[in-house]
Amino acid sequence: MNPAMIIAIIQSLSAAIPELVGLFDRAKSGLPVSEADVQAILQGYNLAHAQLDAAIAAAKTSG
């Protein structure tokens, strides 16, 4: 694995870490998440899912 690949993976993971930590902080402190929070997370999930679908289709096309 070359450095560029490692960085690409780390960047994809670290981009969402602060938001994730914030959510768990809320859970630990007893602060509820709002419906808007839930919807935002769901949108992010759906977007990531669509991106993976596109990457799989592209990888299959390129053989």
Binding site: Y45, L52, D53
Partner: protein, 138 residues
């Protein structure tokens, strides 16, 4: 780094009331606490999807492997949704059981994606340990 969120979920998921330590004001309901854990687990799934995409585009894993991960994460999402439904219905035990299963699956996929060295061969070996999570019925 990647396993930390999953471990945090497990700590909270072990008891839906264990994470309720309000500093003041009205204490949240178990459902509100569950929502916070649910969204955290969902975000963990999103991270796993993003990492899978990055690994695939970097050719560290193959398209069939990415599809296998996606199928496992889809099954995990279904379990998370089942946990959410159980929490809404007031079945705390079922919600916790499903949540724990889902988080275990996310943690395993995460571990496979962050294994070193990550190659199609090592990824296959890691994925072979994975079993599809099953929904705990209400």
């Amino acid at each position: 780094m990647y396993l930390l969120p999953a471990l945090l979920v497990l700590v909270c998921a072990s008891s839906l009331t264990a994470c309720q330590t309000p500093a003041g004001g009205t204490a949240p309901t178990a459902l509100q606490t569950f929502d916070a854990i649910y969204t955290g687990a969902l975000q963990g799934e999103t991270l796993a999807l993003q990492a899978t995409t990055a690994a695939l585009t970097s050719k560290l894993i193959t398209a069939p492997q990415a599809q296998k991960v996606e199928a496992a994460l889809d099954a995990t999402k279904a379990i998370l949704d089942a946990a959410h439904g159980a929490a809404l219905a007031g079945s705390t035990g079922v919600a916790t059981a499903n949540l724990s299963q889902a988080v275990g699956s996310i943690a395993l996929v995460s571990a496979c994606l962050t294994a070193k060295p990550l190659t199609p061969t090592t990824f296959d070996a890691c994925l072979s340990k994975m079993t599809y999570p099953m929904v705990v019925p209400t």
